[in-house]
C-alpha cells in the first residue's frame, strides 16, 4: 500500500486545468472587443465635431453638384449599410429612453 502512495506522491505535477466557465470563456473575447471598441466606438472628441460639420457640408455639396450620383453600386451599398448601422443607434437610444426592449411599459 505504501508503494502505491509513494507512486501517487511522485507523480509529476501538471499545470492546473482551467475549467470551462463563463469567465474564462469571455475574458479574451472581452479583451478583443475592448481593443477595437477603444478606437472605433468612442464618442467624437471636441476637436472632431467641427470636422464632422465640414464633412456633412461636403456631402450636401456632393448631392447638389451631382457628384454623389456617380457613386458605384458597391460604394452605395457600403454606404447604405453604414447608414443602417447609424440608424440602429437611434433605436437603441429609444430602448434606453423608454426603459425596455420591446414596447413601452405603460
Amino acid at each position: 500500500c505504501g508503494y502505491f502512495v509513494q507512486q501517487l506522491m511522485d507523480k509529476p505535477h501538471r499545470q492546473p486545468v482551467e475549467y470551462f466557465s463563463a469567465a474564462t470563456y469571455s475574458k479574451p473575447r472581452l479583451a478583443t472587443f475592448w481593443h477595437y471598441a477603444k478606437v472605433e466606438l468612442v464618442p467624437p472628441s471636441p476637436a472632431e465635431i467641427p470636422q464632422a460639420i465640414i464633412g456633412i457640408k461636403n456631402i450636401v455639396t456632393g448631392v447638389n453638384s451631382g457628384r454623389l450620383g456617380q457613386t458605384t453600386v458597391k460604394d452605395a451599398f457600403r454606404n447604405g449599410l453604414v447608414c443602417t448601422e447609424v440608424m440602429m443607434w437611434f433605436y437603441i437610444g429609444e430602448c434606453i429612453g423608454k426603459g425596455g426592449i420591446v414596447g413601452y411599459a405603460v
Binding site: 478583443t32 464618442p43 464632422a52 456631402i59 437610444g93 430602448c95 429612453g97 413601452y104
Partner: protein, 73 residues
Amino acid sequence: MVPPVAVSPVIKTARWSFLLIGMFYGKQRYDYLKPRAEKERLVEEAEKKIREEQEKIAKALAEGNIFFNSSEC
C-alpha cells in the same frame, strides 16, 4: 489581428448624436403614452364591470328559465 479602423468623424458624431436623440425621444414618448394608458385602463375597468353585470343577469335569466318552464311552481 486586424488593426482597428479609424472611423470618420461624421459617422462618430452621427452615431452618438442619434443615440442621445433616441434616448430623448424614447423618454418623451413614454411620458406621452403613460397618462393615456392610465385613462384607457380606467375606461376599460368601467366597461368591464358593466359587461360582467350584464353577463350575470343573462346567466341568471338562463338558469331561471329552467324553473320558469317547468310546471312545479
